[in-house]
Symmetry: C2
Subunit: 254 residues, 2 copies
């Protein structure tokens, strides 16, 4: 089996925005699906890990796009493991069209946890370090690795939302893609008429549950770059905890 | 070509809820995708209609399910036109598993409009009434047609939300599935631990735009049946208009 997985998707109408281009969150979802298919086919997928009380946990995701597939367009997500260490693997993505046009790339960092203790576990414990045979060193992913998102205490609270049924996945907390969608929703259609998302970085820190409140603190850190801190208010303890941090860079539409 | 279209989908992890079952809104989306594939393959799809300034508009959708596909399960949506009149077509859906198990059914009513005048147009104008050759009279769809959702003026306002970027599709208004999701979000996970959605009816009346406010008025009309009126406050005129009406029936989980 090839070390690189290749999966075709279609830009479904209701996964496209007002401009008829695939939404970044839905693209992220297809990247995570591709990651899941790739690891399942190679013996270290979520379903297998469930049996041995392990799970992959997405720690960071960065998506950098030159353009986005249009409504009804078929696109291919290629994914491969660039590197694996004891506690983290780096998995990359390439998004291309049927004509070979490259739309963009993604980078992700995953930890493996013990689902009972919720503690990180050694990735090389799985099938005697089998992940090693799938590492691809020579496929380029020409976008930068995500840096830690640095924010000052001056970031401004610009929205608070409630967490509902549709935000929650089988793990009982807000799914990784919903955070991305809520962050992008901080900008309106008027903004997206003139700008497109060039790059989106997200680092996941803690979990949010249905009934919690989610607060968005935003700070402009560059001409077209914003950092967003997501803080939850726990419904039971009323304590505030940072749950993730994002950085979003726009470019002006021509 | 067969009059009945058959399309396979997968219950993606992030399209499943906390219980690991496909969310009804995502199933509805796959039904609409199936409708789109079916009509495109037979020469009366959205893309072709766009060229002649016509468009299908979903007027009503009813989904009635015995159970829901589970995470990673492959399921098939069959769709066919049950009837076509001058201004409306009736399109049905059957959802089944790979083992032939039937999960449930859907019924939908579509109008065709002129995209310039926004007025209904004669469906039989398209390709000399070509839709006639695709009508399937003998495939059963053993769920009731949707009745008009009757509500009293006593329905209670239980939530108001803002309409954001992700609610809006290429037509510039809230997409048909997002309404369903917002309505289902009126119930919490605790409720869904004990209940499942047996049937969901929605009738679309008017369009909602980004920046509008959406209000949910709810009324219990049966032991486990609720009707919901969705009213928008237009951001410019500040006028309230009914945009759709839903009826949702639950059954108690065993």
């Amino acid at each position: 089996m090839d070390s690189i997985g290749k999966y075709e998707f279609i830009a479904e109408p209701f996964h496209c925005d007002f401009s008829g281009h695939l939404c970044l969150g839905h693209l992220g979802n297809q990247m995570l699906n591709a990651a899941d298919f790739h690891s399942t086919d190679r013996g270290f997928g979520m379903k297998y890990l469930m049996n041995i009380h392990r799970s992959w946990v997405l720690s960071r995701l960065a998506i950098e796009m030159t353009s986005m597939p249009e409504q009804y367009e078929r696109f291919t997500v290629e994914t491969w493991v660039e590197d694996a260490m004891k506690f983290f693997t780096q998995r990359n993505f390439q998004v291309s069209g049927n004509d070979g046009k490259i739309y963009g790339y993604g980078r992700s960092v995953w930890a493996m946890i013990d689902t009972e203790t919720r503690q990180p576990t050694d990735i090389y414990d799985i099938d005697h370090g089998a992940i090693n045979q799938w590492i691809v060193k020579d496929k380029p992913c020409p976008i930068e690795k995500g840096d830690r998102v640095k924010m000052s205490p001056n970031a401004e609270l610009i929205r608070s939302i409630d967490i509902y049924y549709h935000d929650i996945d089988i793990n009982g907390h807000v799914n990784s893609i919903k955070y991305i969608e809520h962050v992008i929703d901080l900008w309106d259609i008027q903004w997206f008429r003139e700008h497109r998302i060039k790059r989106f970085d997200i680092a996941y820190v803690a979990e949010t549950h249905q009934g919690d409140k989610l607060h968005f603190y935003r700070e402009q850190t560059g001409e077209q770059t914003y950092c967003i801190r997501l803080v939850k208010t726990d419904q039971n303890t009323h304590q505030d905890t940072e749950v993730c941090r994002c950085k979003i860079s726009f470019s002006t539409k021509l």
